[in-house]
Amino acid sequence: NAGVTQTPKFRILKIGQSMTLQCTQDMNHNYMYWYRQDPGMGLKLIYYSVGAGITDKGEVPNGYNVSRSTTEDFPLRLELAAPSQTSVYFCASSYPLSYEQYFGPGTRLTVT
């Protein structure tokens, strides 16, 4: 099993550009999450999903959108990139009852 995979690993965007961060898991987990990690701030929840077709906002959703059309995939969309979105983004998944999260390797995004 590959676990949770994320692409790309690195990306530089100009202000106002758009992009999609990809996340795929092969563990048949119902729950999936997107976090951002800034230095000294831990992980902040952006969006989460408890199953295909169901998504909800986390702590810091502004400037982002998600969709969940399949159990495996949970892409994160940035529509108009801003310097404040410079961060490392992690996708995670978990089983419904254990809530123990498995993380991908992250995407380092720089917006200039």
């Binding site: 000294g40 831990g42 993380f103 390797p105």
Partner: protein
């Protein structure tokens, strides 16, 4: 504002010494998890504690959940250089985890 406060923020010790990391909150959690993260990688789960007062031991690591389920500690005995990393605590409410800011542990050879 962090829901979970971790202390200390940084910890540097010599190999063979012991260390303790603390995770405190004013909120009650259904469970609390500890993760370790190495540079350039995602966090990896170390343990989940569920019951107030619970103590779990994993080799040289001892985890404790407070009686009121608001705080936790991680104790490492005889630290090794392989214990170096960012330690994150995370409290669960409903479907979601709230993470602390982390403690960066450096174990010097």
């Amino acid at each position: 504002t962090q829901l979970l406060e971790q202390s200390p923020q940084f910890l540097s010790i010599q190999e063979g010494e012991n260390l303790t990391v603390y995770c405190n909150s004013s909120s009650v959690f259904s469970s609390l998890q500890w993760y370790r993260q190495e540079p350039g990688e995602g966090p990896v789960l170390l343990v989940t504690v569920v019951t107030g007062g619970e103590v779990k031991k994993l080799k040289r690591l001892t985890f404790q959940f407070g009686d009121a389920r608001k705080d936790s500690s991680l104790h490492i005995t005889a630290a090794q250089t392989g214990d170096t990393g960012l330690y994150l605590c995370a409290g669960r409410t409903d479907y979601k985890l709230s993470f602390g800011a982390g403690t960066t542990v450096t174990v010097r050879a």
